[in-house]
Every structure is written in C-alpha cells, then in structure tokens.
C-alpha cells in the first residue's frame, strides 16, 4: 500500500515537472523547429543576449517586481499590524475586503483596471501595472505578516512595556526583530507575485512598455524560436529560487491555512 502511494506521488511529481524539464531542455537544443535528436547548444541563450526587446521587457519585469515588493510590503505590514494587533469595529469586514484581489478571477480584475484607468486618465503602461501589481500583492503581504503576528505572542510587547519600553520602543526592539522573517518572506512573495503576473500586465501594457510574461505570450501567439524556451527557463528558475527563499522564511502551509 505504502509503495503504491509513493509510486503515485512520484508520478504526480513527474506530471508536474516533466513538461517544465522538456521545455527547459528544448532551450538547449539546436533545432529551431524543436526537432530531435537532441543537439546541445547555448546558441539560443546567446541570441537572447542580443534580443533588445526581451531584455528590456525583462528589466521592466524586475523593476516592477522590486517596486511592488517594497511598496506592498511597507503598506501591507502596517495594515497587518492594525488588523492583527488592534481591536476595532469593522475589523472583520476589512479582512474580507482583502479577498477580492485574490479571489476574483484576474481576468475580471484586469479588465476592470483597464476600463477604470482608461476612463480616469491614468492610462496604461508600467505605472498602471505598478498600481495593479501592488494591489494584488498587498493581500498576500497582509496574510503572510498577519500569520507571523499570530504566532508572535502579544505578551512579549507587554513584557517590554512592563520593563519600561514605550509602545514604539517595544515595537522596534521586540516585535520588529521577531517579525522580520515574515516580512522578508512577504517581500519575496510579493516579488514573485509581480514577476509572474501575466493577466493584469497583459491588459495594462502598451507596446514598448511590457513585461516579460506579456512578451512571452505575444511570442507564443505569433510564432517563436527556442529563444522563448531560454527566457522562460530563466524566468521559471528565478521564481523558483525566490519562492524557495520565501519558504525558508515563512512556512509553506501558512498561506493556505489562513487565506
């Protein structure tokens, strides 16, 4: 029984990883038509280095992710402190209001942003994407930091205050250092959410102001070479590393349990 179960788990992992591995391998195959047998080359990665369009989209993605992580982490941490450390009327409603960006299909959120930003004159482009990405990332940050706050006992702050700390001193000396892993985890998470975000970016992009996933999508739709495999592999590996970093800081089950 246990052997069958483990075999099944192995098959699930093969299912999850096989296409990714095949895709990555094809980025090292010489044939532009993905023909086999396999003929190892780094040609497509070199091509990539000279592809200004993809490189620029890549930098856009990175900058967007960095800014999203910084802004969403700052804002979301403050909100988490209020939502998990203070009692006030309407707290549960505010917690529920965090859900729409996570729970409503991105297609709806994205098109709604498109309509609203166009209508109000905010327009489309990287600034619009930043507004959208931060809004998507804030709920995740609040939940990750909130989970951290929940496991952090409130009596530590009280202990500091009983020893003469002002609330602000207690926050910086006790709460913040202990919360830091969650905050770093949340920042990495926000970074990954932004880096991998496609739907919102797709609706808010304008030619010349796109992100990597949007460029990859248009390449897939309009015909592509293994260069796309190369850039996709890089993107995939990057987000895996970031998420593994997140998992180190915050427990993997944490988000699912609380959301």
């Amino acid at each position: 029984m246990i052997k069958i179960a483990r075999l099944f788990l192995a098959l699930v992992l093969v299912f999850l990883y096989l296409p990714i591995i095949v895709m990555a391998a094809m980025g090292f195959n010489a044939s532009p038509l993905y023909a086999l047998p396999f003929d190892f080359t780094t040609h497509w990665y070199q091509e990539l280095a000279g592809n200004g369009r993809l490189i620029e989209a890549g930098w856009n993605s990175i900058w967007l992710a960095v800014l999203t992580a910084v802004i969403a982490t700052a804002l979301g941490t403050l909100a988490a402190l209020a939502l998990w450390r203070r009692t006030f009327r309407g707290r549960s409603i505010l917690r529920i209001l965090l859900l729409p960006p996570i729970a409503i299909p991105w297609l709806i959120t994205g098109t709604a942003m498109l309509v609203f930003f166009f209508w109000t004159g905010i327009g489309r482009g990287l600034h619009a994407m930043l507004i959208g990405h931060v809004a998507l990332a804030i709920p995740y940050v609040v939940l990750v930091v909130g989970t951290g706050l929940q496991t952090l006992r409130a009596d530590l702050e009280e202990a500091a205050m009983s020893l003469g700390s002002t609330p602000i001193h207690a926050f910086f000396r006790v709460t913040l250092p202990l919360l830091l892993p969650s905050i770093v985890g949340a920042a990495l998470f926000a970074f990954a959410v932004s880096l991998d975000q496609f739907v919102i970016s797709y609706f808010l992009s304008v030619p010349g102001m796109t992100t990597l996933p949007v460029e990859i999508y248009s390449a897939i739709r309009k015909g592509f070479t293994p260069e796309i495999n190369a850039i996709s592999t890089i993107l995939l590996v990057a987000s895996m590393i970031i998420i593994l970093g997140f998992a180190r800081f915050a427990r993997p089950g944490g988000i699912g349990e609380r959301s």
Partner: protein, 352 residues
C-alpha cells in the same frame, strides 16, 4: 510608603461587569495572592495595576503616586507573565538587562546587576544562553530575574507557575517565597490554585464575580471564611442550613452550636464546617457530651487514598464529607452507623 492602593476601581466590557468597586490596600513588602476562579476578575485587576487595562472608574496608586493615567512603561513595575514572555531573540543577559537599559543603566553597572539578579534566582553563568536553550523552570527564573532586577515598586505575577509540572511548581514556590523575602518587594500574585495561595502569601484576597469577597492572612481566611463562596473555593466545606433557636441553630432536627454571633430567633443561617474538623466514631463507641456538636450519620462511601480517608456520609437529608487520618488502617465500611462530632468554634457562620 510604597505599596499599592486601589480605590473604587471598576471595569466593564460592554454589559459585562468584570470588576465592581474594588478598594484594597496592598501593604508594602507583603506578598498578596489574588485567588479566584477564571472570570472572577483577578487577572483584570492585576492588569489594571500594571497599566495594560485602564479602569472605567477609580484610581491606582503605586508607592504613593497616583498612576491611574500613567502608561505601563512609566510605572516602574516588574511583571512575570504566565508564559514568561522572554524575548526569544535576546540572550538571558539581554533579557534581564532590558529594563535596566530603559532606565539608562548600561555597561558595567548593568552587568553587575544582571549577574546579581541571576545569582538570586540561582542561575549564575546563564547570561550567554538563549531562552530556547532553557527548561521551563529555568525560563521562569529568568523571567523573575528580569522583573526584579529593575527594583520595581511592585512585583506582579500572573499565574507564573501554572505552566510547570507539579514537582517543579512546588520547588518554584519555595524559591519564589525566598526571593520575595530577600528582595522585600511588594508582590501581587494571581492564581487559581488555592494551595499555592495558602503556601506563599502573607495575605489572600478571594475574588468572586468582580468583587473581593474576603482578604486576610491565609489562616484567617481559611478558618473564618466569610461567605459560602470563600469557604468553598478555599478548601472544602460542609454547609448546614437551619433556623436560629436560642443560642444555637436547628438543622434537620439536630441542634448545632457555634461561637459566632447569631442573628435573631427564627432567622435562616448557614454554617460551614471543614471536613477535617469533624471527628468520626462508630456509633457504639461514641461518648456523648464530650464536644459541643454531635450528629448521628451513616457512611455512604469511603475514598481510600493511603494516608487519608474521605468519608461521604448521610444524616437524614444532609450529605456530609469528612476527612480522617488513616491512623488504624481499618476504615469504616459503607453502611456503618457513626457519630460525627466537632467543636462549636468550627461551625462558622457564612453569608449566602
């Protein structure tokens, strides 16, 4: 001079009255236990004295100064929390030195005081360790050292021993008492463990539904409980309810004597008798007239615990409980006819 005064303090959470009109002086240098079941308001009272909770009414004075509007951090209190609340990211020395730092004492002077405090709680040389490397009892001592090193005006203990197992708890009770005596700190200790309260305290305050129903020396409160609740919560008690007849109380046909001043003829009163104050003898060997009160009864069951015996008895409609020493190794069997006897001064009149 120092000491804590609580004057007419009240606290409500919505419609729930947590504390009602508490006025109490906690004398300088004494160890006072706040004893009560959960929900009696004892922890709220402690947190009002600490400053974590603002009272709706009334005032708190610590060491003579009114601190009612003063935030926690400016009150100069020492507090030990139920879960110790040691800072997990700081070493033991940093934990103990935290309060000193807030008082501007740093460097060598602080180190000397930290070492002294760790010495006092018998953890010398533990300064470099981290809380997670310590056992529960050791964490407890560090929490205590951290609270006393700042020489607070009052030491507040919020059920600090409840997380320890029984043996360690008894050991820590002795330690706590020694440290309190050595430091001479005014100490307020919240507990729901009556034995702990009796062992440790100079004074015991019994709380019931937001009021202090009785406060006094442990023996005083135990021997002369003022209310039915106090008698029941602190120790065990048999309650006998009857009507005043002359200078005694008539209960289920028997006449029970008490030394307490009784109300007018015919009034209904309740007497509390501690189970260990009652002597139990087989009916045939009982001498009459030797003690003031005697009551025939039948043993309904015996609980054998080795050193002691607990008899559950019936006398007419009354159900009684008696603790006896297991002195001759042959407990009375269920169904035996017995005579219970006790002295008049052990019939204590209680309210309610």
């Amino acid at each position: 001079m120092s000491g804590v005064d609580v004057t007419a303090v009240a606290k409500n959470y919505g419609a729930t009255k947590v504390l009602t009109d508490i006025t109490q002086n906690f004398e300088s240098g004494t160890f006072t236990s706040l004893l009560g079941p959960s929900g009696s308001g004892k922890t709220t009272l402690l947190r009002i004295i600490a400053g974590f909770v603002a009272p709706d009414e009334g005032a708190v004075r610590i060491a003579g100064a009114d601190v009612t509007g003063v935030p926690v951090h400016a009150r100069n209190i020492g507090m030990v929390f139920q879960s110790y609340a040691l800072f997990p990211h700081m070493s033991v020395a940093a934990n103990v030195g935290f309060g000193l730092g807030r008082r501007g004492i740093r460097g060598k002077a602080a180190k000397a005081q930290v070492d002294e405090a760790l010495e006092m709680v018998r953890l010398p040389g533990f300064g470099g360790r981290y809380p997670r490397q310590l056992s529960g009892g050791q964490q407890q001592r560090v929490a205590l050292a951290r609270a006393i090193v700042i020489r607070p005006d009052v030491l507040l203990l919020d059920e600090p021993l409840s997380a320890l197992d029984r043996r360690l708890r008894q050991e820590m009770q002795v330690e706590l008492l020694r440290i309190q005596r050595e430091s001479g700190l005014t100490t307020i200790f919240v507990t729901h463990d009556q034995e702990e309260a009796l062992t440790l305290s100079d004074k015991v305050a019994i709380l019931d539904r937001g009021r202090i129903v009785q406060m006094g020396r442990p023996a005083e409160v135990y021997e002369r409980p003022r209310t039915r609740f106090a008698a029941e919560f602190l120790g065990d008690a048999n309650f006998l309810t009857g009507k005043v007849r002359g200078s005694a109380v008539e209960i289920a046909g028997a006449t029970i004597m008490t030394e307490d001043r009784l109300p007018a003829e015919g009034a209904t009163v309740t007497l509390a008798v501690r189970p260990e104050k009652i002597a139990i003898r087989p009916a045939e060997t009982a001498r009459s007239g030797a003690v003031e009160n005697s009551l025939p009864a039948t043993v309904s069951s015996v609980i054998y615990t080795g050193t002691a015996l607990t008899y559950m008895l019936r006398s007419g409609d009354l159900h009684l409980k008696v603790f006896a020493q297991n002195s001759d190794g042959s407990p009375l069997a269920a169904g035996s006819a017995v005579v219970l006897s006790w002295s008049a001064r052990h019939s204590v009149m209680v309210e309610g």
